[in-house]
Amino acid sequence: MKTFDYVRPASVAEAVAAAAAPGAAFLAAGTNLLDLMKGGIARPDRLVDVTRLPGLDRIERSHDGGFRIGATVRNADLAHDAAFARACPAVAEALLSGASAQLRNAATTGGNLLQRTRCPYFYDTASACNKREPGSGCDAREGENRLHAVLGWSDSCIATNPSDLCVPLVALDAIVEIEGRAGRREIPLEAFHRLPGDAPERDSVLEPGDLIVAVRVPAEAAAFAGHARYLKVRERTSYAFAVVSAAAGLRLEGGRIAEARIALGGVALKPWRAREAEATLAGAPAGPEAFRRAADVALAEARPSGDNAFKIELARRIVVRALTLAAAGTPDRVAALPASAFAASTGATLHV
């Protein structure tokens, strides 16, 4: 690991100033950053420790019923916050399906939004990777790419965003609060991550010094609480990133869908909101025909970036299954295997 200067600012303003210098990076839990630094993928000159900044570690309820999640709130604390989990059960389920209990105890909300892709070519400094080293090429294109993107990819990068948390959050219209050199601003989470285009080295719209201070979930999210699920296919039962995942939320009125929310994970370099698919569900009866139609629309633009055509049909089926589970109703308690495909839509466990 390359050496670095360590600074611990006392205020958000100090943190922004300290991180605006070239080569600076924010340090929260470090569960992704330290890993990247050990591998020589991230080589910051200065770490700006934000873990003790005042006021960033709180989950607050706004007067209208929305939530404001401080950037340094730990994943486990958010998932187990009773009021939050009741209003946003798919977010809690997504959090509990991610990483391990040890990592969830440390990893933060802001850090989750900023985690880098797990593309193995990004991690291997001997490989060409436009995200790690702009202009060097993309060895994933001709490499082991069965897990890579099927939506929104470009010739320069076919990596995916690994976040579970961001998938239901983007479905619920979450907003990112950012403090920068020019002051405070807000960006919808949907517009926060960038598709690769010809500049895959930039993961998000953040500028140097920009600090995520909070993520807000609007009050409208609670309307989906009774019919909200997250479903995640992994290559092992637990402690693995998504091959494909989906968040689904339904607002039902007399057996018909008044409003639907759908987002996909593991398919693109950003959490993928499927707005056109949502629109096809408005007014439709909640059932397999409508769900399959929505899934077809959600994946209409998908195309394989390598040996991963299977992910397109898998994603369609996961959308249908997530919608089916959502229609059946949010369980009182998150399942023993959160977001697992080993749970039948009836609630029985298929895993033995």
Partner: protein, 165 residues
């Protein structure tokens, strides 16, 4: 900049100089404080062998920068037994053969202590397996590990009840 940090490790206050900020909690414990019970497996947060309690919560020591945890209360496997009497989780791992080679065991045991403290799994073996999935065991002692965690959970519950009575 000269960096100094203070930790309470297994109940003992330790002040350490950290002239190089790259030191993780794992390397601090093993290389500076001679507490080698905490194991370095993958050193990348994938195996759980380095699991310790930081302020009572189980955490991967390999991905925690020591200087960032200045002031923390740390419990390692060396701090579990009191006056030569094993912790109920340690006893349960022995009783149920929750290990073979033993390398992952300190991490497994610390993770189990953290899991029981979190109180989310109860006596459901599926929830225990899921809650312990951040600790890999290449010998495959998982069946014994799950039994040990459930047994320890039951023993600690009984202890709590008798103390409350």
């Amino acid at each position: 900049m000269s960096l100094t940090a203070t930790f309470t490790v297994n109940g003992v206050r330790r002040q350490v100089d950290l002239p190089d900020p790259r030191v993780t909690l794992l390397d601090l414990l093993r290389e500076r404080l001679d507490l080698t019970g905490t194991k370095k497996g993958c050193d990348r947060g994938q195996c759980g062998a380095c699991t310790i309690l930081v302020n009572g919560r189980r955490t991967n020591a390999c991905l925690a920068l020591a200087i960032s945890h200045d002031g923390a209360e740390i419990t390692t496997i060396e701090g579990l037994a009191t006056d030569g009497v094993l912790h109920p989780v340690q006893e349960a791992f022995i009783a149920h053969d929750g290990f073979q080679c033993g390398f992952c065991t300190p991490g497994q045991i610390m993770s189990a202590v953290g899991l029981i403290a979190e109180g989310q799994a109860g006596m459901d073996p599926e929830r225990v397996r899921e809650g312990m999935s951040g600790n890999l065991c290449r010998c495959g002692a998982y069946a014994g590990i799950t039994e040990a965690v459930l047994d320890a959970q039951a023993r600690l519950d009984a202890q709590d009840r008798s103390q409350a009575a």
